[in-house]
Point group: C2
Amino acid sequence: MKSMASTSEKILDIAQSLIVAGGYNGFSYADISAAIGIRKASIHHHFPTKAELVAVLVDRYRQQAETGLQALRAQVASPAEQLQFYLNYWDTCIRDAAQPFCVCAMLAGEMQMLPDEVASRVRAHFQSLAAWLASVLSAGAQQGLFRLNGRPEEEAQMLMASVHGAMLSARAFGDPGLFIAIISTQIAKLTK
Amino acid sequence: MKSMASTSEKILDIAQSLIVAGGYNGFSYADISAAIGIRKASIHHHFPTKAELVAVLVDRYRQQAETGLQALRAQVASPAEQLQFYLNYWDTCIRDAAQPFCVCAMLAGEMQMLPDEVASRVRAHFQSLAAWLASVLSAGAQQGLFRLNGRPEEEAQMLMASVHGAMLSARAFGDPGLFIAIISTQIAKLTK
DNA sequence: CATAACCTTCCTACTGGTAGGTAGATAACC
DNA sequence: GGTTATCTACCTACCAGTAGGAAGGTTATG
């Protein structure tokens, strides 16, 4: 038996896909209730408030991301390939429509009206992703794989913005292939 | 007498700032009602449904953008300066917190659950902005001002994604200066 | 000119439905 | 038996949207 997810994890899974689709204000306890066949009140048993639910959800997402990115850095030798794996991951997610958007990028758009406990966690994800990208770019530059115009931190911020912007464009145009098309143009500038 | 805005324009103004803050699902007729001191029902008189209100709002935004960008191309000679003016515009908006995000970028994130009449208009804005950027980059490349790696259309898509991603990062970090910092890194790659 | 018809705008009052959240009972499990 | 999970039933607040009318301006008609 592989996937015997607990109720609370099922709740988080559904909530996550709903947030990716419509943001913090785009889903309700009733939506989750209908999706997994449980009463609204039962969800409140697991997650007393919506803010708490989303805070836990972002924590889980952050931990998965952190784990995945660290594993990537440990198991893949070349910084260029590390970067490629990261971008391929998103390309696949977007093509599958499995998770066609980063949860934190989605929530970042609503930052101004997010509960503090959620907003701070979203910001933390942006920070750690930027740090990971900076370390990859820095290592790659030292090995002569990348040509950086500015400091690795600056280039990392730029790359992260490109990734999020490319997700947005792919969604706006309804064209999953647009993500990697845009990103490839960006990567070309780093490796050229 | 300068600014004697009509009621329906006041409604659109408030709705726009609310959308920029929290997206389509992040505002209500009651919010607008409270903001401009008019009853909810009166807003329905001007805009029967929410979908219609936002559709009109996006039309207005698109027309303003189109007008502004075409004027820029007509009045500013150098493509490099046209681009700089465009980016300065957003830098100022973000620093003033006047309009710290593009309405259409905000709505694009919620594309999947937007009414069709809104979604199609958002897509149209992305198309015309990409076209404008492509024409500026193309003209600039011919004058030897820009070094493009790919076709102007591809570079334009990339630049547009960077702009939207930079807006998102500035918001996520709560740092208005981050927008131009990210974009400058990007522009350096085009002019270098 | 006067008056009747109409139009625009805004109002109060309301509808059916949904939001997040709670209270308390019931069942299942260790 | 106590804990955990789920249930029914409910609450208050809010949602988008409607009905019907009051006030004032505009237009058409005599």
